[in-house]
Amino acid sequence: MKLYCLSGHPTLPCNVLKFKSTTIMLDCGLDTTSVLSFLPLPLIHSPRLSKLPGWVSKDGTINLEKRELLDLSTIDVILISNYHCMMALPYITEHTGFTGTVYATEPTLQIGRLLMEELVNFMERVPKAQSATCWKNKEIQRMLPGPLKDAVDVWTWKRCYSMQEVNSALSKVQLVGYSQKVELFGAVQVSPLSSGYSLGSSNWIIQSHHEKVSYVSGSSLLTTHPQPMDQSSLKNSDVLILTGLTQMPTANPDGMLGEFCSNLAMTIRAGGNVLVPCYSSGVIYDLLECLYQFIESANLGTTPFYFISPIANSSLEFSQIFAELCHNKQTKVYLPEPPFPHAELIQTNKLKHYPSIHGDFSSEFRQPCVVFTGHPSLRFGDVVHFMELWGKSNLNTIIFTEPDFSYLDALAPYQPLAMKCVYCPIDTRLNFHQVSKLLKEVQPLHVVCPEQYTQPPVTQSHRSDLMLELQPPPMPYRRCSVLNLPFRRRYERVYILPELANSLVPSEIKPGVSVATLSAVLHSKDNKHTLQSVPKPPPMPPSKKRKRVIEEPPVALAPKPMLSGAVALEAFLATLQKHGITEVKVEETADGHILHLQAEDTLIQLEEDGTHIVCDSEPLRTTLRDLVLRFLQKL
């Protein structure tokens, strides 16, 4: 049982578990932080941006955390825990010889598809006349300026995939529902559990009859929109793989939400605009729900809210149809009403959504306003345009809510910037306090986690509360490490067919413990084992030469059972007597007794752990054998 760790990013994990002859990939997150090394992709050529020193104005490439640690074509299944952790899927399923199946819940698939569509759209909107790859050569990279020089493994940076690759990759996804048990090759059973982080997000249980591995990725105990986390099913795990803890252990999501609202209101009141660079699904639903309650009280009823993304409409619509997987929202559907209040915001024209800044938006656009748009890295998407538009005025505010990117790095190419900047990262994933409480409750035998979680963050090295402290200590992994998971498989499940089961004769060895010897034919099919009775040999054809029969050496059908116990002297003597053997001379030895059957000229040596019969006459020997066997237990 081995774990191959392909990603060092704790919240965008990619691990491969080899378990009972299956190869299971757990998530395939796409680390897009490398785009911060690139210049923003503006819709219109901007002379200012292209003259900035120290930045390369090249293609939007993306860092792919994959190494040739193992052959991707040998992967049997990929388990996806949430839509953020599937963005690298096309890189793995396409052009690698991958022939397996991907498992994900329906919301994960649908929203994941939307996010990929959006990414491709952002990239393809600004086509490149040419793309450079030579700079990835080590020799050349060394001579490049600034941060690029120091970037590691640039050769793993890949161009963004195409829509065709996305469709092909997603066609390999098989939908599963929470707590659905999926059999993999009859050997392993996997099952997704609600993880409470986003719509359709799941943790996974990977188990056989005797072993259980839990994979916890991106979970939340907060009451936001998704269904609450299923904790009890994680109990009794042999190994728990823990990833996707909060990236902002010190920021309280509720406090951040409050700060978000107050900064937003302040800017609008002062006549400025608010820009919220965010992903098109996820926390935005909670932001909108929060604003829905906040708008009236803050007297923002007339301020327009815009949500601009190629997938804005789809994202808002899709969120409404997964009510079954929503927390506290099921009852609304029974009325029937849309589960999320953003439906009402749209109905009352407070929230408007547009596929891009072209078309309708430009004519309907009113200021001051609030704009939600992507991409949070500020390197591509419509947000680039708004940065150019609003960056020069100190009335405007940009509020960062996504924790994935360092906001200072994101803003760097736009400096100097007059616009106010507020950082309210909202990360609802488990924090260290919650996770230790959770682990105390579910009590896994071993915990595996990224090495980052086993020490305090570099910037806050005194905060020993910002790390995992467990007994036994967790097994840390880093990128490219291969862990041997510490448990040995000892048992496997077989099924005894009823006919055979009925023929077994159990005998009690100790109180409450019985044994039965069993001889059977083992059938193994699809990793399922069954035991059948031994078929009776066909009757021997009546042989004419009966003499020859004795010449045939015996065919060992069933070996003799092992024996256990001891032969009690007195009782044995009594038995002998019953069988007409009376002249017995008993001699005591160091280890037991020697019985001399004088009439028969036979010796029987009785010891604690053995009996030795010395006898020349075959009929007598067999009689004695059977007498001795009466005293022994057969195994």
Binding site: I321, A323, Y334, Y491, A501, L522, P559, H612, C615
Partner: protein, 601 residues
């Protein structure tokens, strides 16, 4: 022998008040809890006194499962849970949980407020009953308790309809509820995996019918509606608010758009708008096409179909009205029917099954004079058309489901006895499995023969698999031997050696030694060699060794030779073997007693 018992309290050789009791592995489950549309007396509800004469049902049932929201499957639920008394879990899918209480309330209103019945469940009871409901997701495995697990599959009959797989240990039952094996305009087809249940309990409404293609029926339907409209007639389509109604609405909506028709289409009030809203929110339960396009255009937002008002019925000119309920037994559809029945230009289209005793059933059987309440009679002059749009599986569909699930036994409910008999014959012939069709109150018992799950030590299994080679050889089955340890509730299969170790027992060695006298005029060493050669020729396939210390070892049997003290030609052979080699040892001693053949050097 473990048994599974199935007793229908309703829907046994009948359609209506579905209620089936299943006892499996010591668990009792009630499947559906419906009412009968054809009765207004006690027979309306299943006879719960079968379960217990007096007192509550909670102690006797482990869970209740409702397959879908039609009243003949859930209509008796509040009566059962609140009036008879049941506090255990009730399972149903989310859409069913959403829609079921509305239909129940509707049903209650008609019965109590309009017909003035007393001793009926109240609105509060419906609410209390729904509080006991636990929603199910598709394919989610729900653990009712430690042993009983249930899993829902898509059934396609109406929004949220489900089939359930019930499993205790290695025994299982599948109950289909009502299902449809062909996708229609708004729902997908039923699907189940090869779960090989011990019993498949299937509905059999259309046991003898094999329906023509859906397209033909749709074309037929549209043609009839169109013709009636053209000649200025009115079309009444009695429907249940949810289900067929939406399918027919989608059909008419697209037809109206294509043909650019102007005649109004109405949908009887209240429920339906709400109903369409449910479809919008539960879009994940509809078919592929609707799910794919819902962001651009939600199929359940109709442009041509408007809400109906009672006064519209007297409006002149052609119109199409969808009105509830579907069997013309009460309510708005009956009122409109009475108004329009006298005019032969009009038409009523019955799109679904009608239970015996309802007006729908009467007019479909060609009755042209109806006796109404208060001795009035009604002449039926309008055209009556029947179109099977009910989303039930036909004979072909039922066979298809059997092929999908591969059950060991089949049990038919929710159908007419004569039709069941026919289907039963067909199933037994085609699949050679037993098929049962119990009447209400009759118990069917099926003995199951479950395998016994045992934990085998991996060492033993691996050793066995390695010896067996990669492919099984049916001609030479390999026999494995082990010891089964039964301790408390665990069954472990280990090798004998390991069993001794685990049980903390000492091995007891049983050995035999036997002297054989042999006349052989050779030196001891030569005799030994002659024995060696002799055994070599007799015992093919055994390991025989001639050791330099003057012994021959066959497997683990030791043979030594010494000369007799008196006569050097008489050799004394000492054979020694352990009990494990008893067969071979015994064989050898008798073989050697016969002496060595002369031809050996």
């Amino acid at each position: 022998m473990p048994e599974i018992k199935v007793t229908p309290l309703g829907a046994g050789q009948d359609v209506g008040r579905s209620c089936i009791l299943v006892s499996i592995g010591g668990k009792n489950i009630m499947l559906d809890c419906g009412m009968h549309m054809g009765y207004n007396d006690d027979r309306r509800f299943p006879d719960f006194s079968y379960v217990t004469q007096n007192g509550r049902l909670t102690d006797f049932l482990d869970c209740v499962i409702i397959s879908h929201f039609h009243l003949d499957h859930c209509g008796a639920l509040p009566y059962m849970s609140e009036m008879v008394g049941y506090d255990g879990p009730i399972y149903m899918t989310h859409p069913t949980k959403a829609i079921c209480p509305i239909l129940l309330e509707d049903f209650r209103k008609i019965t109590v407020d309009k017909k003035g019945e007393t001793n009926f469940f109240t609105s509060q009871m419906i609410k209390d009953c729904m509080k006991k409901v636990i929603p199910l997701n598709l394919h989610q495995t729900v653990q009712v308790d430690d042993e009983l697990e249930i899993k829902a599959y898509y059934a396609g009959h109406v929004l949220g309809a489900a089939m359930v797989h019930i499993k205790v240990g290695s025994e299982s039952v599948v109950y289909t509820g009502d299902y449809n094996m062909t996708p229609d305009r708004h729902l997908g087809a039923a699907w189940i995996d090869k779960c090989r249940p011990d019993i498949l309990i299937s509905e059999s409404t259309y046991a003898t019918t094999i329906r023509d293609s859906k397209r033909c029926r749709e074309r037929d339907f549209l043609k009839k509606v169109h013709e009636t409209i053209e000649r200025g007639g009115k079309v009444l389509i009695p429907v249940f608010a949810l289900g067929r109604a939406q399918e027919l609405c989608i059909l008419l909506e697209t037809f109206w758009e294509r043909m650019n028709l102007k005649a109004p289409i109405y949908f009887s009030t209240g429920l339906t708008e709400k109903a369409n809203h449910y479809y919008k929110l539960f879009i994940t339960w509809t078919n592929q096409k609707i799910r794919k396009t819902f962001v651009q255009r939600n199929m359940f937002e109709f442009k041509h179909i408007k809400a109906f008002d009672r006064s519209y019925a007297d409006n002149p000119g052609p119109m199409v009205v969808f009105a509830t309920p579907g069997m013309l037994h009460a309510g708005q559809s009956l009122q409109i029917f009475k108004k329009w029945a006298g005019n032969e230009k009009n038409m009523v289209i019955m799109p679904g099954y009608c239970v015996q005793g309802t007006i729908g059933h009467k007019i479909l059987n060609g009755q042209r004079k109806l006796e109404m309440e208060g001795r009035a009679t009604l002449d039926v002059k309008l055209q009556v058309e029947y179109m099977s749009f009910s989303a039930h599986a036909d004979a072909k569909g039922i066979m298809q489901l059997i092929r999908m699930a591969e059950p060991r036994n089949m049990l038919l409910v929710h159908g007419e006895a004569v039709k069941m008999e026919f289907l039963k014959g067909k199933i037994e012939q085609e699949f050679s499995i037993d098929c049962y069709m119990p009447a209400n109150g009759e118990t069917t018992t099926v003995t199951t023969n479950p395998s016994v799950p045992v934990d085998i030590s991996l060492n033993l299994l691996k050793r066995e698999m390695a010896l067996g080679g990669p492919l099984p050889d049916p001609k030479k089955p390999r026999t494995m031997h082990g010891t089964l340890i039964m301790k408390e509730n665990s069954l472990k299969l280990v090798s004998s050696e390991q069993a001794l170790k685990e049980l903390g027992l000492n091995e007891h060695q049983l050995r035999f030694t036997c002297r054989v006298q042999l006349q052989d005029p050779h030196s001891d060493a030569d005799t030994l060699h002659r024995i060696y050669t002799h055994l070599k020729s007799v015992l093919k396939g055994y390991t025989i060794q001639h050791l330099p210390d003057g012994t021959v070892i066959v497997e683990s049997i030791v043979i030594k030779v010494s000369s007799s003290a008196e006569d050097s030609n008489t050799k004394v052979l000492l054979l020694s073997w352990s009990y494990q080699d008893e067969d071979l040892g015994s064989f050898l001693s008798s073989l050697l007693k016969k002496g060595l053949p002369s031809g050996i050097c």
